[in-house]
Symmetry: C2
Subunit: 256 residues, 2 copies
């Protein structure tokens, strides 16, 4: 079932168990994927719901709602100082696959890129495509880019981390594993996590101090120096692993 | 000190505390990095040694050997079914940053790319550049691509994992954390790990069975479906985190 193709639809496209397909969606389903009338596919609303649908021509009929659970048990907001060039495209693609809920692009002291509105549109399209491909239930939100200090004040999370290179910050995974499970113990890390990664050259001392003042905890991703594009993918890989095993395993990953 | 620029030199370039620079290295140091005579940089032999050097013109003088430790406490061999297009470039770049020691590219049943010798040269150049930038001590080895079944027999490691999508394989991190520390207990995971990730469409059933017969353990990287380029980066991020915290923290990551 999950091997079926998936497309994201807008709420207005669905009425009385029938989906009105846009011309792009008709093109994608029939020309690109080569589905025919009567073939099945999955329609997602990008907010958690999946439906099994059967293709007519300009419409599709809903057969049933599907039960899926591919989301992480925590909500991750990834705050990224925009890397140069098209680097953020790759960050959005990979971190959507990994389960990020919200991208908060920021401009920092060392940011070279000041993105155009077209970029934002492009990132949102990449997020939707990556959510379809990776079988996410939701399509992550991408916030408008803001200066880092403004972003610090606007993002919210139960735990907030800022990744720093060099120095003696504790490892992100050690920090995550040192969180005592919240009572009543349900065998997993829950709630929301914000993680911030820097641009080429890292955060300035001033930026790290401002983050600490906003209750971010400095953490390390290891002893080697990661590129601005690699760091967010690594951070989210590590968070997703810890929260997924702490939720699923009989032997929780969170040790007191 | 570690903020100095780094270049990799061949053993033959170093004689009696003096480095004979190639014309490319001279160009890189003086034109690209804009160093001048008397400026310091770091020369690496790509096998673990770093030296502090001072630039003359076509040569450099070694000032002292440097003590560094940026390598992981385990040796990681990454076996990757070659992704399409230039996807393996990004895998080599990011996984070198993350600490991989050896890349074993393989062709699998679903591999579309059959690489030219020029590709191999290109991957080795990318690995050297990424090792310099990420402050690795060693430059990873890149083996010649071989068919998957041949690769299964030629790679060696204390623990071998194959990443599979879908199904009920245990999570990679749960598998790593369930390894009992080897006696005498030295506070960390040691030895060597082989991890294999598939091409677009994943491994075939036959390939997974062959891997299991070669003592590979199937593991999951989470509930979402990762692209062929993302999966190896995620797998190595997770291994590096677990081995680094198990080595460094007072509270070892390996729980019995």
């Amino acid at each position: 079932m999950s091997q079926l193709q998936r497309i994201v639809i807008a709420p207005a496209q669905l009425q009385q168990q029938q989906i009105t397909l846009t011309s792009q969606q008709q093109h994608y389903l029939m020309r690109v994927l080569r589905l025919r009338q009567g073939d099945r596919f999955i329609a997602m609303d990008g907010k958690g719901q999946w439906w099994l649908a059967v293709l007519a021509e300009t419409t599709a009929q809903i057969l049933e709602q599907m039960q899926v659970q591919t989301e992480l048990p925590v909500e991750i907001t990834l705050m990224v100082a925009l890397p140069k060039g098209n680097g953020f495209d790759e960050v959005v693609r990979a971190c959507t696959e990994l389960g990020v809920n919200c991208f908060a692009p920021v401009t920092s002291d060392r940011t070279l890129l000041h993105p155009s509105p077209q970029k934002l549109e492009r990132w949102r399209r990449i997020a939707a495509e990556a959510a379809e491909q990776s079988e996410r239930q939701i399509v992550p939100t991408i916030l408008d880019p803001v200066p880092f200090n403004k972003g610090l004040l606007s993002v919210t999370g139960d735990r907030k981390y800022i990744c720093v290179a060099r120095g003696n910050a504790p490892h992100l995974i050690a920090s995550l594993q040192s969180i005592p499970p919240s009572p009543p113990y349900q065998g997993g890390l829950e709630g929301s996590i914000v993680i911030a990664t820097g641009a080429e050259g890292g955060w300035t001392t001033n930026e790290v101090e401002n983050a600490i003042a906003s209750e971010f905890q400095p953490v390390s991703l290891g002893k080697r120096i990661l590129r601005a594009v690699t760091a967010p993918i690594v951070a989210v890989s590590q968070i997703s692993a810890i929260v997924e095993i702490s939720k699923n395993s009989e032997n929780p990953g969170l040790v007191p």
